[in-house]
Symmetry: C2
Subunit: 116 residues, 2 copies
């Protein structure tokens, strides 16, 4: 079989990477991901719920995340829990490396050391 290539998923859309980052700490359900992303993005345009759930569906199709069958007891029945797949971890890492390289370029080209 042909090897899986993380590069074929790179670059991720900004939203997709935000979601994978939200799941990097461990399994989580959609609404919490929404809150995590919005909290980290600060004052920027808030992520709409509809946008998030569709993005989750795409990531599921691509097998970058998967849904958990089991859930914590006593939990809200409506929630759907997700976690990163091995593939998702590999892709998130590859994307993080790409971004780190861009930051390095930005620094080398004097975009970071300057007035706000």
């Amino acid at each position: 079989m042909d090897r899986f290539r993380a590069e074929s998923f790179i670059p991720l859309t900004p939203l997709a990477f935000d979601i994978l980052l939200a799941l990097a700490e461990g399994e989580q359900h959609g609404y919490r991901i929404l809150q995590d992303v919005n909290a980290r993005s600060g004052n920027a345009a808030p992520l709409h719920a509809g946008t998030l759930y569709r993005a989750l569906a795409r990531l599921l199709e691509q097998a970058l995340i998967e849904e958990l069958a089991e859930r914590p007891a006593e939990d809200d029945e409506r929630r759907r829990y997700y976690q990163l797949t091995e593939r998702g971890i590999a892709v998130a890492r590859a994307e993080a490396r790409r971004l780190a390289a861009q930051i390095a370029t930005a620094e080398a080209r004097h975009l970071l050391r300057a007035p706000a």
Copy 2:
């Protein structure tokens, strides 16, 4: 007048940021931008010329870049030269800061220190 807000352009698409980065070193023409972006992206899917020129047109409309009237003497007549506007610099900086924050999160969540 209402202040210009760089945040309203954030997040940039990966391609838009690549182009602004290519121009961070100084004025450049389209084809060289194409080569710079493709060189920096390594083995990833190469940027197609058509995609680039349309992206340049968008950045012009948004006034993140502007075309130079003057060109170096003895230059290929067909070339069109572009440079960052002040707005473009501000937006590129804001995006670079956003990405740096994401990298920091990725590290904090143990996405960077691990196998390739």
